[in-house]
Symmetry: C2
Subunit: 186 residues, 2 copies
């Protein structure tokens, strides 16, 4: 039997192992404009890694019918009263969906429909989150330890970061009296 192309996941940490796993990182510098507290952002080390990803892309990006697999690891911390979080994106092909499954830590999945309606779901080890098509998604680490979650998404979904970079989410997850609270913008 064959084992060559296999990858494995450590369910406790979310870490993927395998020859074809791609790694990347986003530093605070990469998250310019994401957090509301500009002064707090400027006061921090721009080279600080906020989150890392591991991707398994067994077929070419853009192929219809294929699926990708990955893990995202978000460090604990805040910029002002906002938790460390991912940039967030719609899929370029808007009807494409995705699963997030939490491996470790605690956080919040922030979902925004195209009409701007935003809500959040608790993430805790083992929680399974379906992200429907036409829904922007972002994850914030609300805990004191690294948050890790698995993801599965179509290989032709693509990423539209630009819409979020320009318009943001309609609500922000802020730490208020020590607890995460989703606060509408304006």
């Amino acid at each position: 039997m064959q084992t060559g192309e296999l990858i494995s996941v450590n369910f406790d940490s979310g870490v993927l192992n395998g020859a074809h796993v791609l790694e990347s990182a986003r530093t605070l510098r990469d998250l310019e404009g994401v957090f509301r507290d500009e002064a707090a952002y400027r006061a921090m080390d721009p080279s600080k890694v906020i989150y890392r990803t591991q991707f398994f892309l067994p077929v070419p990006e853009g192929l219809e019918g294929g699926l990708f697999w990955g893990t995202t690891f978000i460090e604990p911390g805040r910029v002002g009263d906002e938790y460390f979080m991912t940039k967030g994106h719609f899929h370029a092909k808007r009807d494409r969906s995705e699963y997030y499954v939490t491996a470790a830590g605690s956080g919040a999945l922030i979902l925004m429909a195209e009409d701007g309606a935003t809500h959040a779901q608790f993430m805790t080890p083992g929680s399974v989150h379906y992200i429907p098509g036409h829904t922007a998604h972002r994850v914030a680490n609300t805990g004191d330890t690294r948050l890790s979650f698995l993801a599965c998404w179509p290989s032709d979904a693509g990423h539209d970061y630009q819409t979020i970079a320009e318009h943001g989410f309609s609500a922000r997850l802020r730490c208020i009296d020590g607890k995460p609270e989703l606060v509408a913008e304006r």
Copy 2:
């Protein structure tokens, strides 16, 4: 924050929990014609459950861009020298792919291309298996305990069991000298 629609997975057992998880079972009776040893098959209790599934189907079957999630649990055992296994299928929409991720137990994922080329991959807790489009897939439990694996597949993939029911796989996983061996048919 919202928790209502959430489901969770136990990574140790593969068990899904949630209000919208659908359960079904396949008994030996449902697997008529699957195993080569007809006499051994006839001698067994036809109501014996060979495998069970839990499915989370958050969107209608057939929707393009959506994804389904599930777990399959295969009991340990054999019919003659063949391990308990799933029926196996192509996707009705042939280019649709799928992931299997092993939660518990040990087994083999048997993959057959449309030209009949068949190979098998070891399944062990944490192993991540990409099933490309145009590839029939079946899982056999080669261990002494329940085999559980998670799955994620497109909501418009569909199932074509008929092609396998008529033509079978081009190779069978048999227990030879106590070990699983993939043996070509004829």
